[in-house]
């Protein structure tokens, strides 16, 4: 019994993992190809952009904020990278991996200054920057598109097609590395723990002297940087970009986080959960496609999944609150 209780805190990720395995199994039963190396590789490739973005916004969401501008940032960064590479044919993948995060970080700095510096609500601020950044893509792109011929072959053909062990694409291996690093950081580093403290009770965090400004600011810069990196992944996957790239996908990322147990009210959730959430959404989509459900219903199913996840989150929260209350009563007695 003691052991069970000790395991409980991390049981959210564990139960999500089990749900994911069940979903994968069921999908595999419907469509056996899903369980092969090719199927796994497709799943991981198509999840890696959303998974990386979910890792990026997890610290922000844990701090009880939100970043809706990430999808626009992906669009802007992807177009800029393609544009710069088209004008400098000798650029390689290294340049892409440098330009992307820098552009993304700049958007993050803007968000961070407005949210942390002026203490404005992040929802409204990032809605505003969502518009502004997307508008910038429209204006500077001038309806110019780029496709694989104009992009560095070392990025598209070499890295983009690289697969380890027959099933792990290069992009998802980076996702795993980031996931492990950030999970470790948020669990064990003091500044990582601060994120949970700030998200659980922002005024209290301020009163005990946590560096709320610095942490919040850096969380937004991190989220922007990850969006810039996700733009490189986007190019590697689609090998083409126009001004509407990744339009409206911010909610898919938020959905992945929430389904993965990162509460929108702050204070709980891990990047591991967020990545599992992203994989789960993709797997269920794949399963429904295998069942022959029309692609037009995709958005509706995403929405339904999100509502179910929020509800589950709420039920779990109420339950643990009750348990804590009972525990406190017992201790008093």
């Amino acid at each position: 019994m003691d052991l069970l209780n000790k395991l409980k805190p991390s049981s959210r990720e564990a139960s999500l993992g089990i749900i994911l395995l069940i979903a994968v199994g069921v999908t595999g039963l419907i469509n056996p190809r899903f369980l092969t190396g090719d199927g796994t590789r497709d799943l991981l490739t198509s999840t890696s952009v959303v998974a990386l973005l979910a890792i990026g916004i997890t610290p922000v969401v844990v701090m009880r904020h939100i970043d809706l501008s990430i999808a626009s940032t992906v669009g802007l960064t992807a177009w800029l990278i393609a544009d710069i590479c088209a004008k400098n044919p000798d650029f390689t993948w290294v340049h892409c991996f440098i330009i992307g995060p820098i552009v993304g970080a700049l958007v993050g700095v803007l968000n961070g200054l407005l949210v942390a510096g002026l203490r404005l609500p992040s929802l409204v601020v990032t809605l505003g920057t969502l518009y502004i950044v997307r508008g910038l893509v429209y204006v500077i792109s001038n309806s110019v598109d780029y496709n694989s011929q104009e992009m560095p072959p070392s990025l598209i053909e070499d890295l983009g097609q690289r697969v380890y062990f027959g099933l792990l694409p290069f992009t998802f291996s980076l996702v795993i590395i980031f996931m492990v690093l950030i999970a470790y950081y948020m669990k064990y580093a003091k500044s990582g723990r601060d994120a949970y403290a700030i998200g659980s009770n922002p005024p209290a965090a301020d009163l005990v002297g946590l560096k709320v400004f610095r942490r919040t600011f850096l969380a937004f810069v991190f989220s922007g940087t990850m969006a810039g990196l996700a733009a490189v992944f986007y190019l590697m996957r689609f090998a083409q970009v126009d001004s509407t790239a990744f339009y409206g996908q911010e909610l898919a990322v938020v959905a992945a986080c929430v389904i993965g147990g990162v509460s929108i009210f702050g204070g709980t959730g891990t990047v591991v959960g967020a990545v599992i959430g992203a994989l789960l959404v993709q797997t269920i989509q794949g399963g429904l496609a295998a069942l022959g459900v029309d692609a037009f219903w995709k958005a509706a199913i995403n929405g339904l999944l999100l509502i179910i996840a929020i509800y589950a989150d709420r039920v779990l929260a109420v339950r643990s609150e009750k348990r804590l209350l009972q525990q406190r009563i017992r201790e008093r007695i």
Binding site: I66, L114, L118, R119, L120, P121, L123, V124, V125, L127, G128, T129, L130, Y131, I132, V133, R134, G135, L136, Y138, V139, G248, L251, V254, A255, V258, I264, F265, D294, F296, W297, K298, A299, A300, I301, N302, G303, L304, L306, I307, I310, Y311, R314, V318
Partner: protein, 328 residues
């Protein structure tokens, strides 16, 4: 010392500032741009902002309550799709319109149910229903569009009265404006809305049925989104699943521009009307100046940021001045 709390004073000045800004924009646009100060252009401004205005009347209550509904544009699309779908399936137009309004109301009720009865956060839930409702519209209509509607109704959506600048939808909008204005500023319901927005906990202890109140507001926001769906359908004479994508953000930015606090508890109907018209006038000005349509996305974003940063900065500078005055 004044009898008002500080926040109210700042807001009051923000309200008037927006109305002043609206006048300044209109004067500047009229003097710099030919064709701005014409009845035709004003009819465009009114009809281009009609759906936003209709939804904003209800969303005003929502934001004052401290809740938010991001699914309004999807409700618009779903009710518009249902209107088109049922009409194309042979329903008479009056029945199709009733279906459209009922669908809107039910969607709003569902949002309210999730938020109040299940206790879920409105931001998260309506992100979910945003995807859900538009997804259902997508599932029903797919890539089809319905664009055959009776002429009487398309003329209601598009034409003006005779040669005047008044779009035929304007009396309806004014009617709703008066109803919601009176509801907010002259009835116990409105006072309760403001009270809940200031402090839901205190309102509850004062005997206000917060759950029922929120339920009502969510439901009529759905209804108004249905009305907007109907207007949108007839104005463009099309019912399709991607009708009105992104309108929720325009509605919210117009409301915040009108001095309604995103933190709840503060807001006026005339501020919202001025906010919507300000956004509409700026857009019309940019169009007449032949400024690239793409710039408008940026302007919308900047307006949104100004509308939320403005009151905060005003309040901060006021505090600083008061502190200085205290020191000296």
């Amino acid at each position: 010392m004044s009898i008002f709390p500080k926040a109210v004073q700042v807001r009051k000045s923000w309200d008037t500032a927006i109305i002043g800004l609206l006048l300044v924009v209109i004067v500047m646009a009229s003097t710099t741009t030919e064709g701005f100060l014409t009845s035709l252009n004003f009819s465009y401004i009114f009809s281009n902002t009609s759906e936003i205005m209709i939804i904003a009347f209800a969303m005003l209550f929502m934001i004052i309550l401290g809740e938010i509904d991001l699914s309004v544009a999807s409700i618009l699309a779903l009710s518009s799709s249902m209107l088109g779908w049922s009409y194309a399936k042979g329903a008479p137009i009056w029945l199709a319109i009733i279906i459209c309004l009922v669908v809107g109301t039910v969607c709003g009720f569902l949002n309210g149910f999730f938020v109040t009865k299940l206790g879920l956060g409105s931001l998260a839930v309506t992100i979910g229903t945003l995807a859900l409702y538009r997804g259902i519209a997508n599932g029903i209509l797919g890539e089809n569009t319905v664009n055959e509607f009776p002429e009487f109704w398309t003329s209601f959506g598009f034409d003006t009265f005779g040669t005047t600048f008044m779009p035929k939808t304007l009396p309806m909008i004014i009617f709703f404006g008066i109803i919601f204005g009176l509801l907010l500023h002259r009835t116990p319901f409105g006072r309760r809305t403001l009270a809940i927005g200031q402090s839901a906990e205190a309102a509850k202890f004062a005997g206000i049925n917060v759950v029922r109140h929120k339920m009502i507001v969510f439901t009529f926001t759905g209804f108004m989104s249905g009305v907007a769906g109907m207007v949108y359908t007839f104005r463009f004479s099309t019912a399709q699943a991607d009708n009105g994508v992104g309108i929720e953000l325009l509605v919210i930015s117009a409301i915040l521009l009108g001095g309604v606090s995103i933190f709840g508890g503060i807001g006026t109907i005339w501020g919202v009307v001025a906010g919507v018209l300000l956004a509409g006038s700026v857009e019309s000005w940019l169009t007449l100046q032949e400024i690239n349509a793409q710039w408008r996305t940026i302007v919308t974003g900047i307006l949104l940021l100004i509308s939320v940063a403005g009151p905060v900065l005003v309040a901060k500078s006021k505090q600083r001045r008061e502190r200085k005055a205290l020191k000296s």
